[in-house]
């Protein structure tokens, strides 16, 4: 008999009341509203576990590490009760041909039903032999397992965009998954790595609603990648007030002013860091004093130094989304920078004056 998530919770002494509370919290944290909580509850009560094949190409394993950091749900419960992680070379007990036999088994037994999660990416140079698995190019394994998958999750910036090994001059010709698998629904969950709860949130959403989350034009779930870090940054009032960190560890840094002038890429980066935050909400890069390096954006390694000021942002416009910005960024860039500089200089002068008055009192 297959144990469902609900049964697991009950057996661990969780009451039905707590379980339903969990469901409504999950619904809320996914941005779905409390009305959908009963559907989450029903799904978790009744479903057997969906097989997941988790492949690793050229990567650094930061996505797997992030995944096991998930606090809600716990990685343990995802793996033991929500899905069936049938192949993941980072965690699985078996190795060699015993491991590879599982691929064959799942491919046949669950044809069209399993989720293919991909961490890292395939290099195409040298016939793909910059990433060899079982003596063969990784790209072959990827294509072979993709053929019978229901959907593909591209974990992290490697699988989504190419990431560090694809940075110029990309010596191995590493390419993102969607460049070699073009006939499967693919969900990109970018970030280096993605936030743990975003990863488990995407999986839970798919298992619960039996559908792929709504994606933006670039293939990312809108619920987590629909807005820029800047739009919801708690330091945003300092940006609007023209209060900036000018040097590391200066007074402004100690007061938590805006890191824009230190190269923060929050204004051009679509991710959930400033709201979901990291490691169960403890912090996120800006909160800990370093600008965002834009790690969930396509080609973020090749956009100049992480300490160069971004020059293509608009001063206002939280309502903009990735699709709109993608289409208009080039056109507005020049004007926006000029406007930004003028507005922030004016505001800064005004606020500084106000500050002095206040401290004088």
């Amino acid at each position: 008999m297959v144990e469902t998530f609900y049964e697991t919770l009950r057996r661990q002494g969780i009451t039905r009341r707590s379980f339903l509370k969990f469901c409504s919290l999950t619904a809320t944290s996914l941005g779905l509203g409390p009305a959908l909580a009963p559907r989450i509850a029903h799904a978790l009560e009744t479903k057997p576990r969906t097989p997941v094949i988790w492949l690793h190409g050229l990567e650094c394993t930061c996505c797997s590490e992030s995944f096991i950091r998930s606090a809600h749900p716990l990685a343990k419960d995802v793996v033991l009760s929500m899905l069936s992680l049938d192949y993941d070379d980072t965690l699985m007990a078996a190795a060699g041909h015993q491991a590879e036999a599982i691929l064959e088994e799942i491919k046949k037994k669950y044809k069209g039903q399993y989720i293919l999660a991909v961490e890292g990416n395939p290099p195409l140079n040298e016939g793909g032999m910059y990433c060899i698995q079982s003596g063969k190019p990784f790209v072959e394994k990827l294509k072979y397992m993709a053929a019978d998958a229901k959907a593909i999750i591209s974990w992290g910036s490697c699988a989504s965009w190419g990431c560090v090994q694809a940075a110029k001059p990309n010596p191995t010709q590493a390419v993102p998954v969607h460049k070699v698998i073009t006939d499967k629904p693919t969900i990109k969950v970018p970030g280096c790595p993605p936030i743990a709860e975003v990863m488990t949130g995407v999986v839970t959403y798919m298992l619960t609603f039996e559908r792929i989350p709504e994606l933006d034009r670039q293939g990312r779930p809108k619920m987590f990648y629909g807005q820029r870090i800047h739009d919801k940054c708690y330091r945003r009032p300092h940006f609007d007030a023209g209060q900036f960190v000018e040097a590391w560890d200066d007074d402004a840094a100690r007061r938590g002013y805006c890191l824009y002038k230190m190269g923060c890429k929050g204004p051009t980066t679509y991710n959930a860091c400033s709201t979901t935050r990291w490691n169960n909400g403890v912090s996120f890069p800006i909160q800990s004093g370093h600008g965002c390096i834009g790690c969930s954006e396509d080609g973020f390694w090749d956009k100049g130094s992480f300490y160069d000021r971004v020059t293509d942002i608009k001063q206002f416009g939280i309502e903009s989304n990735a699709d709109k910005v993608g289409g208009t960024a080039a056109a507005v860039a020049g004007a926006a920078v000029a406007a930004h500089a003028a507005v922030s200089a004016l505001k800064r002068a005004r606020i500084n004056h106000a500050d002095e008055n206040k401290e004088g009192n």
Binding site: C60, A71, L74, G127, P171, W248, S288, G289
Partner: protein, 597 residues
């Protein structure tokens, strides 16, 4: 080759060839081939790094202040250690001094990684080599409880707790969907634990999975996220503000309290769960002392954890520094990372090309031109379908680093052996205590089990040292210093036209160093020699084998078709293949345009 001797080992590749590819439960991609004699004893071992990413060529021409972020992505498991090594290399090149607070915070982050990495390695990457999960189903929960309570005061130890866990496991197994436990080597006679010890270990596998996510919050506080926290050339990016307006946006007393509570929990978990489990498991395996390899002959450590800021001399480093060669435990040699005669990399058996492959190159002058060439008279397969590699030809994406010509083992065991030989009490005493507890001689240290035990002891050491640097940070702030960054040389206009430097750390897996050359404010050359390059090294021109290969020799396998013993020993090094196989110099750039498909 047939039969030959090297480093005191006899190699014979005439017997049955067994291939393990992929070796799972590691970071990255590794292949191992061994030859077994008629009694299923390993008589030849070949380890092959099977991935390569080319990060150094990517670094060329970039801003040296950005290099930490690129190199941090070499590895997401030992996250942060490459970044720390990188900022140290840049600071060395540009002669930048960091504030004391930055040193304490960096040390806490590095030690936090040691604690996290060792714990996750033991429970999630290594435990299944010792622990039979399916056997846990047969355990008596009451006796499991008695066992747990006899070795530790850890509170989660009641019969009911273990019964619930066993029921959960039972239902999981009965579901037929075994997930990560599918096709494991359950029931293999090389598993020695009684059912009750297996059940206890499975419980702690799950508890450790829950707990590890707490440890890394120290990275999150100071670096904003984990994996891959943020670092800064010249200090740390997090400012300290305890009293003034805006303190809530900086390191304040609430943040410091969070760090302190995690340190306390880490010490408790390590001492009440990890160490007792380690000793309990070891007590059932102390008759299985294979896997020593190079550890009794040649070990290397660069040292790490500078007590005071900006002093990287051996006497100021809390982790030991030095080299032992030829099994001479009476002498620890000085190590100099700048000396062109000491560290050199060879490529005779690696898929790279040198103008003169009979010579090794020091990393400051390193060259790496990729040269993928599976070949040799014993090679079987095609270019894109390898069936058997030939260790007499080129066979790995890993180079062969040597210290004064010697293949070396690096990692926790190397550090503990050097610390032991130097008679440093904080390394010697715990080792002696473990040996006494298990009633085994000092020679037992040179084994797979010794490697695994050293890692556990180091985890405990690191947890306590976090507390030391936390206290140091508080004392320094109390004394009126809240500085975290030195920005005197932040602007590239203040840099010399040319500079070169080396940065080093002791990563969880062993000695790690980056060599950088800066020219006209950009990276001119960047080289990393990482722990798994040392341990996973292929043969060199003299036929000397690396640490992985040496460790597998003479190990009997209970079943030739179940590579349990191979995994156990290879895992004891905690291999990190993404680390070891990225190395490439600017000269390799040309191949990028040659073979684009």
């Amino acid at each position: 080759m047939g039969v030959y001797e090297t480093q005191g080992f006899k190699l014979d590749n005439s017997g049955k060839r067994v291939v393990v590819d992929p070796v799972c439960r590691i970071e990255g991609h590794l292949r191992v081939e061994v030859n077994l004699d008629a009694d299923n004893v390993i008589r030849n071992a070949v380890s092959t790094g099977t991935m390569w990413r080319g990060l150094e060529v990517i670094l060329k021409g970039r801003d040296p202040r950005d290099a930490w972020a690129f190199t941090e992505r070499i590895c997401g498991v030992c996250t942060g250690t490459h970044a720390l090594t990188s900022v140290r290399a840049v600071e060395d090149a540009l002669d930048i001094k960091i504030p004391e607070n930055a040193n304490s915070i960096r040390n806490m982050m590095q030690l936090c990684l040691q604690v996290h990495d060792h714990l996750v390695h033991f429970y999630h990457l290594h435990a299944l080599d010792w622990v039979d999960v399916i056997s846990a189903l047969k355990a008596d929960p009451k006796r499991t409880s008695e066992l747990a309570q006899s070795i530790s005061s850890w509170p989660l130890s009641s019969p009911g707790y273990f019964r619930d866990l066993q029921n959960r496991l039972k239902k999981f197994v009965e579901s037929g969907q075994l997930g990560p436990f599918a096709n494991g080597y359950w029931g293999n006679p090389a598993y020695k634990l009684p059912a009750e010890a297996n059940l206890m270990a499975v419980a702690h596998y799950l508890e450790a999975l829950d707990f590890q996510k707490e440890i890394v919050k120290i990275h999150t506080v100071f670096g904003g996220k984990n994996p891959h926290p943020n670092w800064l050339v010249g200090g740390v990016p997090c400012a300290i503000n305890l009293n003034d307006t805006g303190a809530v946006g900086a390191i304040n007393i609430e943040r410091l309290n969070l760090v302190k509570s995690i340190i306390d929990q880490s010490i408790e978990f390590t001492e009440k769960v990890y160490i007792p489990d380690l000793l309990a498991i070891a007590s059932f395996y102390k008759g299985w002392l294979h896997g020593g390899g190079l550890s009794s002959k040649s070990v290397l450590s660069y040292g790490d954890i500078p007590d005071r800021a900006n002093d990287h001399s051996a006497k100021n480093l809390l982790l030991p520094r030095g080299a032992i060669i030829n099994g001479d435990l009476t002498k620890v040699h000085e190590v100099d990372l700048r000396d062109p005669e000491q560290i050199q990399e060879f490529v005779v058996h690696s898929w790279y090309k040198y103008a003169d492959e009979s010579k090794g190159l020091h990393p400051f002058d390193g060259v790496t031109e990729a040269n993928y060439k599976p070949e040799g008279k014993n090679f079987k397969g095609t270019r894109t379908k390898i069936e058997r590699l030939d260790e007499e030809a080129k066979y790995s994406w890993i180079k062969a680093p040597r210290w004064r010509g010697h293949a070396m083992e690096v990692g926790p065991l190397a550090r503990y052996i050097i610390g032991y030989v130097q008679k440093t009490p904080e390394f010697k005493e715990p080792v002696d205590a473990v040996l006494k507890h298990l009633d085994v001689p000092l020679t037992a240290l040179f084994s797979t089990l010794g490697r695994t035990a050293a890692r556990g002891l180091e985890c405990q050491w690191a947890a306590h040292k976090m507390r030391y640097f936390y206290d140091k940070l508080i004392a320094n702030i109390k004394a009126g210093d809240s500085s975290t960054a030195n920005v005197e040389k932040w602007e590239p206009s203040r840099w010399p036209k040319e500079a070169k430097g080396v940065g080093f750390t002791e990563a969880p897996r062993g000695a790690l160093a980056h060599w950088i050359r800066i020219k006209d404010t950009k990276i001119d050359n960047y080289q990393c020699v990482v722990p798994t390059t040392w341990n996973g090294s292929p043969r060199d021109g003299k036929g000397q084998i690396g640490a992985f290969e040496a460790s597998l020799l003479n190990t009997p396998m209970a079943k030739a078709d179940e590579p349990l013993e191979i995994l156990r020993t290879i895992h004891s090094f905690d291999p990190c293949l993404a680390c070891s196989t990225h190395v490439m110099s600017p000269d390799g750039q040309e191949m990028a345009v040659v073979k684009v498909r």
